[in-house]
């Protein structure tokens, strides 16, 4: 069996730049693959809905350049999943363009550039909704309905290992993936080399966030993972970081509800029987992960629906009487909005910093601070309406009528006597799974030449 030594320099390529020192050490360690995930649903539904990136182009290019040059110099595959934060088609095209441009810039000898898309056609989903195999909701959501589908701006499917393995089989030297399970990018490389599913998926799981599996805490540093004698070995590349039992096991639970099980298209990684062993200062060995194939392949879908255009206003309060009656102040402003715009057809949100701005109803501290800042978010079908809604909802706090207030010249302080345009408001409308006969069906593959 061939070795599968993989380095991962960044847990969300583009979100912040990789650190060159540990990346150089990782490259010097002689990897067989250089791979990273570049997406996340943590950034909220806006980027997917509006088909934009939250990461700056300069940082995306910086990391792709470092990885491409190292991979081509060594002649090993480079693999990227979830291009451009969201993995939409435009983000895949963006990364493919960056790779081609970098290849020209550095006069790299010709290589094969593979890529796949992840956006799902609305009519495919409509047909599924109408079939006898509904689009099932995750995390307590009901099945996807046609009305919710119609409200949704864009849907991506989460690829498993299949499109990555198919492109490796076809000889791709560089792979740019649409939306993908983080762990599948790395698992595909190990599976391509003939390793077992359990170890391959675990290797992917531990590498996906780069140095988040190492300690002391420090992101964007390179880690090296490989499969050796029936176990996964993971090693920190930064001179001051180590992969310990605590850091590696701790990573298994990061950002997921349950530390024992990880679901991907085609099955489930069971980490409940994992055994962790520190085998050298910087390396931990993990044995015992199992992969349980699914009877029917279900692919996760993510979709964002536009709610409307958005404006933001800010107001602050210092009078203790007004602070004690801040809900009445907000209530007054809301009533003025209702009088002007009616009860429905818009959203108006008040976030009261200094009371429960960060946690809302989860806040156990009930005593407000000596001053408050109130953020007003107004969402409406048009920018004009959102702006007027936001001005009304913000400025009317100034005119709130409190019976015993001493200050009668204005109930709030304004740092800005204006409201500010914000990005359009979206919501996660699709967090579901779709059953497929062919795990490649949703992910059209492409292969072209790059370099000279």
């Amino acid at each position: 069996m061939q070795t599968a030594r993989i380095i991962c320099p960044n847990g969300h390529l583009g979100f912040a730049p990789l650190k060159p020192e540990s990346f150089a050490l990782g490259v010097a360690a002689g990897p067989d693959f250089i791979a990273a995930d570049s997406g996340s649903d943590d950034v909220g539904p806006g980027p997917l809905g509006s088909d934009t990136s939250t990461s700056p182009l300069a940082w995306q290019t910086h990391d792709l350049e470092a990885m491409l040059l190292a991979a081509r110099a060594r002649g090993v595959p480079m693999m990227i999943g979830s291009a451009g934060d969201t993995g939409t088609n435009s983000r895949v095209d963006l990364y493919v363009g960056i790779i081609k441009e970098l290849a020209r810039k550095h006069k790299l000898p010709k290589f094969r550039l593979g890529y796949f898309y992840s956006e799902v056609d609305r009519e495919v989903l409509r047909a599924a909704i109408r079939s006898d195999e509904p689009i099932e909701g995750l995390e307590g959501r009901g099945v996807l309905t046609e009305s919710e589908l119609d409200a949704t701006s864009r849907v991506v499917a989460m690829a498993g290992v299949h499109p990555f393995m198919a492109l490796l089989d076809q000889g791709a030297d560089v792979i740019i993936g649409g939306r993908s399970s983080d762990s599948a990018i790395f698992a595909a490389a190990a599976l391509h080399r003939g390793h077992s599913e359990g170890l391959s998926y675990y290797l992917g799981k531990v590498l996906e966030c780069a140095s988040f599996c190492a300690e002391p805490y420090g992101g964007k540093e390179t880690v090296l993972g490989e499969i050796v004698d029936g176990g996964v070995h993971v090693t920190a590349m930064h001179p001051n970081q180590r992969c310990t039992i605590a850091s590696v096991a701790g990573h298994a639970m990061y950002e997921r509800s349950n530390p024992y099980y990880e679901f991907v298209a085609g099955g489930m990684l069971d980490m409940s029987q994992c055994h962790y062993e520190q085998i050298s200062e910087k390396t931990t060995r993990v044995t015992g992960p199992r992969f349980v194939p699914a009877g029917r392949v279900r692919v996760k879908l993510e979709g964002a629906a536009k709610i409307g255009e958005r404006y933001v206003g800010l107001a602050a309060v210092r009078d203790p009487y007004t602070i004690a009656h801040i809900d009445a102040v907000i209530g007054w402003a809301r009533q003025q909005v209702r009088d002007r715009f009616g009860e429905t057809g818009y959203e108006l949100h008040y976030t009261v910093y200094g009371r429960d701005g960060v946690m809302g109803p989860l806040e156990p501290v009930k005593t407000p601070a000596h001053e408050l800042c109130i953020m007003v978010q107004a969402v409406a079908p048009t920018k004009e309406m959102a702006e007027e809604l936001c001005i009304t909802g913000t400025r009317q706090m100034f005119y709130a009528r409190l019976p015993d207030v001493k200050g009668t010249a204005g109930s709030v302080a304004f740092a800005l006597d204006e409201v500010l345009p914000a990005s359009a408001a979206y919501r996660w409308s699709v967090n579901h799974t779709l059953a497929v006969d062919d795990p490649l069906a949703l992910f059209p593959l492409h292969l072209c030449d790059a370099g000279i």
Binding site: D41, D42, V43, G44, P45, G46, L138, E139, G140, R141, I245, A246, A249, G250, A252, M253, Y254, E255, R256, S257, N258, P259, Y260, C274, Y276, E302, I307, R310, E347, H349, T351, G357, V358, M359, G360, P361, L362, E363, P364, V365, Q377, V379, A425, Y426, R427, W428, N431
Partner: protein, 116 residues
């Protein structure tokens, strides 16, 4: 009897999105002895977490004692998905703060030096 704050006993106390509909909380300890002592104290139980955050039982989706990482972990359902307008914490990254001051009663035979 010794009473310490959770922030004096844990190495890491954090919260973060687990997908778009949930927030997960990790409390990680430096050594097995502290982990065991806190676990046995009952200060971090399903009931304690529900009371601390004022949540109905239905919103606590997972509660796991994860020995390999010396961690206690729980997950709650959001009322609206992350990043919806009005959501003040898109990453769910600042929801752990009330855990810092949770008081943990330790019997004298489990006396533990608070971490720095």
């Amino acid at each position: 009897m010794q009473t310490l704050k959770l922030s004096e006993l844990a190495k890491t106390i954090r919260s973060k999105n687990a997908g778009v509909d949930r927030i997960t909380f990790d409390i990680i300890f430096r050594d097995a002895r502290t982990y065991e002592a806190v676990r046995r104290s009952g200060a971090l139980s399903r009931e304690a977490v529900l009371a601390l955050y004022g949540l109905p039982e239905s919103r606590l989706t997972d509660f796991v004692e994860f020995e390999p990482a010396l961690a206690i972990k729980f997950t709650i359902a959001r009322l609206r998905p992350s990043g919806s307008p009005g959501d003040p914490d898109i990453f769910g990254a600042q929801q752990y703060a009330p855990l810092l001051d949770v008081l943990v009663n330790l019997p004298d035979n489990e006396a533990i030096q608070p971490a720095a």
